[in-house]
């Protein structure tokens, strides 16, 4: 057991933190959000230069051979600044599907383009009717000669509006909620028959609803097998749970700092409101929530390596419960301690609150995961 970062990891952490500290203050973020894509392409290039876009991919595929801890480090730093760029969508979600299940040919073609920043991905899996049931896939893929024809609708696809290449799930066989029979396909965003409606999300990021009407792709578009795409999605979502938990920890850390700074300087009744014990204790509750979430983000990071899907599912569900609940405590107390200015768009704290809320909602909220965990029998055996 060892919680220390390696020398390389420490360097990585320093360099990402320095980049966002330099380039991602609150005012800059506002400017990036107003750019056409809703984020900064210039920053994206800098991420590529820093090496973080290719980080988790194998060196032989054109990546940098980083592990889950490296992703944790990056996501935490990005979370501190509420970074808008599609790192999660491209590297963790879309890229993750390739990393976990892509063929050597697919990986070697695409990953170098991800790493150099010239290709953005999105994972189009969720559908309007699915709610949080990952197995509910109504979109279909039918064989058509050597290739496939895709039909159906995807919704809330994170950064789906600006992605170049989509990883799309579709059902090849089985009932609409069957565990088997789902496949993943690489679909260019400009494929014929594919339409996208892009919109802002509540936290200032972007997403898209996608319709597919007779979208044709070749045989080489299939990622992995014809029937086990759902297992890949589950694995990638687990990676994303670990990654967004780290992002949430970064956001909570910064939200706590902002709040403590604010109550140290805001004066009422002739003194800083940070002198009032009831407010101090609310700040302490934020700190406690943060540290508990940090612990679980580390735990989830470790458990992304776990090969037993059930064990992994327990760990990820538990992490979501803690991170979701901690996020609510930090977000709500942070706004409350800011008072009136906390609910204005001009103060950063509200944006942290919104992002923390949306991280919770993204792959099933804390209570949803509590149900999953309890149905799996919890973490400890009876004795």
């Amino acid at each position: 057991m060892d919680f220390d970062l390696s020398e390389e990891q420490r360097l990585l952490k320093d360099s990402v933190e320095r980049l966002v500290a330099d380039k991602y203050d609150f005012e800059s973020r506002k400017r990036y959000g107003a750019e056409p894509k809703g984020y900064s392409d210039a920053l994206w290039t800098q991420y590529a230069e820093l090496g973080i876009l290719g980080l988790p991919f194998a060196e032989e595929d054109g990546g940098f051979g980083g592990g889950a801890v490296d992703t944790m480090i990056v996501m935490e730093a990005l979370g501190r600044a509420l970074v808008l760029e599609p790192y999660l969508a491209t590297v963790v979600l879309g890229g993750g599907a390739l990393r976990r299940a892509g063929s050597a040919a697919q990986r070697q073609k695409i990953i170098p383009q991800i790493a150099e920043g010239s290709l953005k991905l999105a994972l189009a899996h969720a559908e309007p009717q699915a709610r949080y049931n990952l197995a509910n896939v109504a979109a279909t893929a039918k064989r058509d000669g050597d290739g496939w024809v895709l039909n159906g609708a995807k919704s809330g696809v994170l950064h789906g509006d600006s992605a170049d290449l989509l990883v799309v799930s579709a059902r090849v066989s089985g009932d609409q909620t069957a565990e088997n029979g789902v496949a993943l396909f690489l679909v260019p965003a400009d494929a014929g028959g594919l339409t996208r409606r892009g919109y802002a999300t509540q936290d200032g990021l972007r997403a898209a609803d996608i319709d597919m009407a007779g979208v044709r792709v070749g045989a080489d578009a299939l990622i992995g097998g014809e029937s086990d795409g759902l297992a890949v999605v589950r694995r990638v979502y687990d990676d994303a749970i670990a990654a967004t938990s780290a992002e949430a920890v970064g956001a909570m850390q910064r939200a706590l700092e902002l709040t403590v700074e604010y109550i140290k300087t805001r004066n009422q009744f002739g003194q800083p409101i940070g002198n009032f014990q009831a407010l101090q204790h609310q700040a302490v509750d934020m700190f406690t929530a943060l540290e508990q979430a940090r612990s679980m983000a580390m735990y989830a990071t470790m458990m992304t390596q776990e090969e037993d899907a059930d064990e992994r599912a327990r760990a990820m569900a538990a992490t979501r419960v803690q991170v979701g609940r901690s996020g609510r405590v930090v977000g709500k107390n942070g706004v409350q301690l800011h008072g009136g200015v906390g609910v204005t768009i001009e103060f950063a704290i509200g944006h942290y609150f919104k992002r923390l809320t949306m991280i919770d909602a993204m792959f099933g909220d804390a209570d949803h995961h509590l149900g999953i965990l309890s149905d799996l029998g919890g973490l400890l055996p009876a004795a």
């Binding site: 409606r197 009136g340 768009i345």
Partner: protein, 398 residues
Amino acid sequence: MDLSFTPEEQAFREEVREFFRTALPEKLRAKLRAGHHVSKDEQVEWQRTLNKKGWAVPHWPVEWGGTGWDPVRQYIFREELMAAPAPEPLAFNASMCGPVIIQFGSEEQKKRFLPRMANLDDWWCQGFSEPGSGSDLASLKTSARRDGDFYVVNGQKTWTTLAQHADWIFCLVRTDPSAKPQRGISFLLIDMKTPGITVRPIITIEGGHEVNEVFFDDVRVPAENLVGEENRGWDYAKFLLGNERVGIARVGASKERVRRIKLLASESRHGNPPVLENARFREKLAAIEVELKALEMTQMRVVANMATLDGKPDPASSILKIKGSEIQQTLTELMVELAGPEALAYQPHGADGRNEPAAAPEWALTSAPNFFNYRKVSIYGGSNEIQKNIISKQVLGL
């Protein structure tokens, strides 16, 4: 002690309900139920409908347009209004400035302002908070210097709700800078069209424009617009804030929201089982219902005691704000949970060109913005921390 409504009270409730059923435009009802704000025109039109019926300002004296209803009937009316749901009469006119003028204003002020207030011919807003004076209201700095028949006002107000619509603002201003903080404050009525007033919007976290900053730069206000005595404004403000108490629990609004959540959660969407079949969701909702029922009973106790306590506040009234805001916030949060992934999309009213419509229903799209926006209810009107300080001191004697 009899905690049931009398047959007369039941009949009154039916009468009110029937009026709302027929007089309230369906479009307005639908808008409120979807979680949207009403426009200025809609608010004005509705308040005039109420005023025509004689119900715009039920709690005012009959001579100024009130109804003469006892507290229980006023309570029933308010409950039914929120249950409809219908827009509430503009609080700044009906519950805040109006009662102050009735209690402390001159005969001329009453004649000049009250009828127009009741009919929403004038839209009022409230100028109390300042950037440096939130919880510590008595530290306010906006000054009014006497200059002949005028006061010259300089300073800044903030959190001024719907100032963008307002014709008039009632302000706390400092008229004696040398007195103790509470002693040098006056209550002044200011025409928003007076030169030197600038209104600047404050955008709230969900992107809405409800509140504003109001700047005063050598604004000349006729001295006749002073309410009551100079330097007694703090007393009038305390009277005003005391009046807010009962309405602030917003029990009726929360009941309406519970019913709405139940309806939405009992519907099968996209062929999935209704969310209400999930025991956890159902129990969370039931837990809020219990709190809400308890708060409703608490509110009824306060209302019923109004007659006997003769103006002295019921100690139980002090929990209305705290519990009421907690319940409202939890309900908005439950709505987000109900919307699930459909809460994700942000759809600003004034589409900014880069947003295409998401395939989610209106109530789901407004769920997260309402959750975000409702953080305000534990902050404004005396934060819940301030409320607890007050109970600690005034009720528990700590």
